[in-house]
Amino acid sequence: MQARLEALLETVQKPSRYTGGEVNEIKKDWAGKTTCCFAFPDTYEVAMSHLGMKVLYESINAQEDLLCERVMMPWTDMIEGLKEQGIPLYSLESRRALSAFDMVGFTLQYEMSYTDILKMLELGGIALHNKDRDENAPFVIAGGPCAFNPEPLAPFIDAFLLGDGEHATNEMLRAIGAGRKAGKNRAAILRDLAQIEGVYVPDLYEATYHEDGRLAAFTPLDKSAPLPVKKRIELDLNEAPFPTSIPVPYTQAVHDRIVLEIMRGCTRGCRFCQAGMLYRPVRERSPEQLFALAEQLVAATGYEEMSLSSLSTGDYSQLLELIKGLNERFCDQRVSLSLPSLRIDNQLQEALVDTAQVKKSGLTLAPEAGTQRLRDVINKGVTEGDLLRTVSEAFASGWNNVKLYFMIGLPYETDEDLLGIADLARKVVNCYYAIPKGQRARGLKVVVSASTFVPKPMTPFQWAAQDTLEEIRRKQALLRSALNIKGVTFNWHDPETSFLEACFARGDRRLAKVLYRAYELGCLLDGWNEHFKYDAWMQAFTDTGLDPAFYANRERDKDELMPWDLADIGVTKKYLWRENERARNAEVTPDCRLGCEGCGLTRFEGVCRG
């Protein structure tokens, strides 16, 4: 098989996606270990940009009794080659088939990767439906943000992990390893997994539906199955494992740099933001720990760039100290620091001055909505004054490249709000020309990106209808003509992908049939425009008798039982509804660090002081 694989690799694009062998790859002896393959349902370049994989890869491999390897979604040429040559999808490290592992763990980063999961199972020699897996088959696990509404994947996945995985993944692996050693059968091991905090085993529950399609009841079938399933939380990030040495890809990853997770969680309470609700409470890593991690990572990888990751970097309590400290330590080694998704309302100017010492990358700001009223609706506590002050400062200190991110199709949005986007873009352009010619960098570039809003579960907008495709197209056209401004580029996307995302984000168990049918019809790599087959997806809905509009475009009643109500993320439905009501009245909710807003997290002992 090795010889056939070598020959195959000579014929595919970017073979280094499939060879492994990167600097810092971890290869362990298999004898006596419980084995896990971390599976990323997108290409190597996307996977190698993902921090979570690197965290678990190192932390699992640090355990003597456990082992973790990696696999990603192959590109179409490799898929065909593997099939022709009869080679199963294999792990990069030991080149073993996926079916040889005790556990295969998928990360669910976005809904449009779901067909890739089915394809990878097929190629890896694992039965697609969990009911068809025999005693020797791996346990197929899934985690990550989309695992908080696991239902559309329920028939394919043995167990989901809801929440932080640093310790829970090891516990799951050990439960599987110990169970297999003790000769337990699959069903018994699954019941053991359900005892681990944060784990949801879908086969231990049953969903029933009203005639109109709404969920009627959701019931545990076994006394070992908790309801609701409480999310897993790593309370102290300084105690949680973080990688000190990560594999360095040969082919360029999408985000090819060191990523330092400085903070988890966010208390701003933006109403569209799922991560902000899912990952409470706010937890910070100390600057001292981050300095030590950064030094080890720079020494181990040779990376020339580093970025800070969190939901709201501007809220990190010691941000200036951190940025200054990193710059001091790495300036001589020419490691540049980039700061993504900075909120624009605090301390930014000083931070900007500091990063400019090393590298001038673009400035990215996310006002999200075009008018103050709509920003109040979504509780994005940023004012036009903040934004214009920030860009003026940036232009004055030599920036000429600004990206502005907006969403269209937000609840309670009017055409006036859309025109507000153009208005704001024009004001940004004016800020640039207000700086005298000799003092500003030449060649202004303002990029306005408008994505289509997808209502997400576990947010105050979980009840909302998504705009229809026709309405989104009308709004895009309106913006296109309004944004015909010199120096401004407008980016938008076809809304079909967002429509399907909306279906699966708030989907129930029955949607698994649509997913399976789409897979049968050849849907894969749906996140890639050139492979996205909208017509095939619509065919899959028709063939299975389900209506996508029921999932995407329907406004829910306050008391409707949601498929994701099975999970307790800390934040209560009652709180989310209250926020939804406030949104309707364009009423803002302050950051809860200024006073508890009663989101429900204090119910979890020792997690939030309220």
Binding site: G21, Y250, T251, G302, Y303, E304
Partner: protein
């Protein structure tokens, strides 16, 4: 001073494109802590130049790069520190300290030696060599800036002979003209009247105009 480094690009590394190799080497040099130099400007990058990019799919046994130094270091120290951090199959084999005034390897380069190991039809290919070389012209199509045009491969082939179960060839590799080893192989197959079998190609040396390896004899 600068360091001329001889390194290998073997095994799976034959799949790396030139930019991938460049990044891998830059990162290895950064990890090594060796006294390298950086360009000026907002996006400083580590200075490094290669004698000749290698086509994807072809292995290299003795590839050459030059690293400008910010301070002098012994060849042995350089080699040891770099090899500490280079991955398997990309190891440095020799380091030669040079004055900055020595012409860059890229400019001194005139030819390269390749070993071709076809999976099958070796006998036929070996038998075809004398006839192949006795041709006055070996036309091939080259894609250049001005579009596709016909060129002659024959004057770019300095030597081609069978050795064991391989073919060994010396091909022109300079700004005046470059013959690709994979192209030579398909031309030879065409001449022999066979469909090109799979063939592992290894570049074994980079030579100056006297046919002496760039790193010295």
């Amino acid at each position: 001073m600068k360091m001329l480094v001889v390194f290998e690009k073997m095994g799976a590394h034959r799949f790396l494109g030139h930019l991938d190799l460049q990044r891998a080497m830059q990162r290895a040099l950064r990890r090594s802590g060796l006294p390298v130099t950086y360009s000026q400007g907002f996006n400083p990058h580590l200075q490094l130049s290669f004698a000749a990019p290698l086509s994807v799919g072809i292995q290299g046994e003795r590839e050459i790069m030059e690293v400008p130094l910010s301070e002098t270091i012994s060849e042995a120290d350089f080699l040891a520190k770099l090899n500490d951090t280079l991955p398997q199959n990309m190891k440095a084999k020799a380091a030669v300290l040079q004055e900055d005034k020595v012409a860059p390897a890229m400019a001194r380069m005139a030819a390269a030696t390749y070993v071709l190991r076809p999976d099958e039809h070796f006998e036929q290919l070996m038998a075809a060599v004398p006839g192949f070389l006795s041709q006055e012209r070996i036309p091939f199509m080259k894609r250049g800036k001005a579009g596709i045009r016909e060129e002659d491969l024959r004057p770019l082939i300095y030597n081609l002979m069978a050795k064991g179960d391989t073919l060994v060839t010396v091909l022109a590799t300079s700004s005046k003209g470059t013959a690709r080893a994979d192209l030579l192989f398909t031309s030879l197959c065409e001449f022999a009247g066979i469909a090109p079998p799979r063939c592992l190609i290894t570049r074994t040396a980079l030579l100056d105009e006297r046919f002496v390896p760039l790193e010295g004899a």
